[in-house]
């Protein structure tokens, strides 16, 4: 029976193509937009994750206690083995190392004398290796006002206003002056490869961005790191998975009395992001509900139209003696088949779109009069697991429901009036 109906659907283009196209379109629209809005709702949380908290973050216990002070003397050591342990045991996440530090920048004039000095807030990330994803994650390329990304470890990016204050140009050399993790004095020259503006005043007026290898050397932190950040590969924070990860990681170290033992923190438990996350999630749930509701109406209508279009056909089939129940059942099964096919196609297209928007996003900078880049002006989608099935709600259920309703008409028809109606 299903095989027969399937053939019917394939062969009768009007029965198949149009509804399938409509369903596929509706379903894919639902998915893309749901993903997009979930992403948009969580942009602030996302921004925090990218710049500060990661999806999970590992610090030494002592560092975590004093993290506001950037206490690199309490940093994690033996990081290589820890990172390779993380990589092999928790492959769902990308693990990146970062060091934050303070110090002074001193700009020399042509004689080598200081022409300007200022306190610097340093961030060392993996700038040179694109596979770390850090440059993209922190949106550095977009933040560059002049110059370019560093090509070598002895190059650095500094805040645009900072550069102006120190009268530095691209290609100039600047000396960092600070303390190593052991408290000794340390100096390092860097060539300014570019200036950046993130829209955060503290950073624009004092940031220096280095490659982590340079920072390690400079701060005497070989095999040490302030923070290890973990990001889920798909770029989307998964609260449940992160919490489970946090528990499993910290449980193993529970009995370790070392105050420098690593400790993992989820995004939720940092910077009081938990409530914001809950809010974002419930808002995006409401959006998804609206979409599914709206799409259900649309596809239900499509189902109705489908039923109506075949008014004549049903009349003929009734006239030929087919039972009403059989026609009704075949209608419903056909609708289910069309719904499933359409939803599958739609989900496929929708996911492609959602993934695209997750990676590239929509830039709304043009809508902002005073684009300060304070916040991400690129709105991105967020592909969550529920996107894989929500399309089927409007796609299958609404379609079938619409057909079922329109099909009720079949039972109302009298054989006697059939021929009159059909005008044969």
């Amino acid at each position: 029976m299903i095989k027969f109906l399937f053939k019917g659907i394939i062969r009768d283009k009007s029965r198949s193509i149009l509804p399938i196209v409509v369903i596929a379109l509706g379903v894919s629209l639902t998915i893309v937009l749901s993903g997009f809005l979930s992403g948009a709702m969580t942009d602030m949380v996302d921004q925090n994750a990218r710049f500060e908290t990661g999806h999970v973050k590992i610090m030494s216990r002592a560092y975590a206690e004093n993290k506001e002070q950037l206490p690199n003397d309490l940093a994690l050591l033996g990081v290589d083995s820890l990172v390779s342990y993380l990589k092999s045991n928790y492959p769902d996440l990308q693990w990146v190392e970062r060091i934050r530090f303070g110090g002074l920048l001193d700009a020399p004039d042509s004689e080598g004398e200081s022409k300007g000095q200022g306190p610097a807030a340093g961030i060392a990330i993996n700038l040179l290796d694109a596979s770390s994803g850090e440059v993209e994650r922190m949106n550095i390329e977009k933040a560059i006002v002049s110059g370019a990304l560093p090509d070598e470890a002895n190059e650095a990016l500094i805040g645009d206003e900072f550069a102006k204050k120190l009268k530095l140009n691209i290609g100039d050399e600047v000396t960092y002056f600070g303390t190593t993790m052991n408290g000794s004095m340390t100096f390092q020259n860097f060539t300014i490869s570019g200036t950046v503006r993130f829209g955060m005043a503290a950073m624009d007026k004092g940031a220096i961005l280095l490659d982590i290898s340079a920072a390690r050397q400079m701060l005497d932190m070989q095999n040490g790191v302030g923070e290890i950040l973990g990001f889920f590969h798909n770029g989307v924070y998964n609260d449940k998975a992160a919490l489970a990860l946090e528990n499993s990681f910290n449980d193993q170290l529970k009995s370790n009395p070392d105050e420098y033992a690593p400790q993992m923190f989820t995004l939720r438990s940092q910077n009081n992001l938990g409530d914001l996350l809950d809010y974002a999630n419930s808002m995006s749930a409401i959006f998804v509900m609206i979409f599914v509701g709206a799409m259900s109406v649309v596809l239900w209508n499509t189902g109705l139209i489908g039923g109506l279009r075949r008014y004549q056909e049903f009349g003929i089939r009734l006239a030929l003696g087919e039972s009403k129940g059989k026609i009704y059942r075949s209608l419903v099964i056909e609708a289910t088949l069309i719904g499933v096919i359409g939803s599958l196609i739609g989900t496929g297209i929708g996911l492609v779109g959602a993934f695209y928007l997750q990676n590239y996003g929509i830039n709304i900078a043009g809508m902002v009069d005073n684009s300060s880049m304070m916040m991400p002006t690129v709105m991105r989608a967020k592909v969550t697991p529920n996107l894989y099935f929500i399309g089927f709600i409007p796609g299958v259920f609404a379609m079938v429901f619409g057909n079922m309703l329109s099909g009720i008409g079949i039972y109302k028809r009298e054989t006697a009036s059939l021929f009159k109606e059909l005008e044969v």
């Binding site: 950037l70 309490l74 303070g102 020399p108 200081s114 000396t175 303390t179 100096f187 020259n189």
Partner: protein
């Protein structure tokens, strides 16, 4: 969160502590106290000095030993070169009166710390650059009196109390315990205006070098911070050698 306000890099500017040593020239105003201090000066101070020393910095997680060689002339000029460990080797510091330059070989840069920078605490440590810039004689900025006697490690000492006689000093009050036989300070405490103890210096391993008593180990401790403080150990000391003038020039930093 990145804010420069949180920035408290922790630097113990190693050899800066050394400057405390140069503050012993101080005939006090109370006659007895002044006599004692004069005798201390005879032991502790010479016109020029070349010192090889070691600093032991006890961090929370490790102990670092840094070696250096210093040339000093009076208390206006000093030049220090770091010898080890490898990281520190070749770093030099020159102080001429109220100016301070630091040279680092890896960057081949000489950085002068000036203006408000000098008043900053050095990278969040308890010492300010200014601490090491003090080049006035103690007698010019403090009034000294004997306030008591005490026995420290079976040695009898006088307790001298120094109170600032001018306004712009870093420490309003100092207390010094001086060995009654050998005229060597065994302990010093630095106080805030409010009377709160800020720093403590303990001198030990006193032995005779070139006919004078000299402490070979000095421990500096910031009492507000946790930890055991920093040790300063004299390996070798020459009193009144001839130091060529070029040592105390900026050019010598790059050599």
């Amino acid at each position: 969160m990145i804010t420069t306000r949180n920035y408290t890099g922790k630097m113990k500017i190693n050899i800066l502590l050394f400057s405390f040593l140069f503050m012993w020239i101080m005939p006090g105003q109370a006659q007895d106290a002044q006599t004692i201090l004069d005798k201390v000066d005879k032991n502790m101070v010479s016109k020029t000095e070349i010192t090889e020393s070691e600093m032991v910095i006890r961090g929370k997680r490790n102990v670092q030993t840094i070696g250096s060689k210093s040339y000093t002339e009076g208390n206006k000029k000093s030049f220090t070169e770091y010898l080890y460990p490898e990281r520190e080797r070749g770093t030099k510091m020159l102080k001429l009166e109220d100016r301070l330059w630091i040279y680092s070989p890896s960057t081949d840069r000489t950085i002068q710390l000036s203006g408000h920078m000098l008043r900053q605490s050095v990278m969040g440590s308890d010492l300010s650059y200014e601490d090491m810039m003090e080049d006035r004689k103690l007698k010019d900025i403090y009034d000294a009196i004997i306030v008591g006697e005490e026995t420290i490690d079976e040695r009898k000492t006088w307790i001298l109390e120094l109170t600032a006689s001018v306004e712009d000093v870093s420490y309003y009050k100092r207390k010094i315990w001086v060995d009654q036989e050998r005229f060597i300070p065994l302990k010093e405490e630095l106080f805030a205006k409010s009377g709160q103890l800020l720093k403590k210096t303990t001198l030990s391993d006193i032995s005779q070098i070139d006919g004078r008593w000299y402490p070979k180990k000095i421990n500096f401790k910031d009492v507000l911070k946790s930890g055991n403080g920093t040790d300063f150990i004299i390996k070798k000391i020459q009193f009144n050698p001839t130091i060529p003038a070029y040592i105390f020039t900026k050019a010598s930093l790059k050599k």
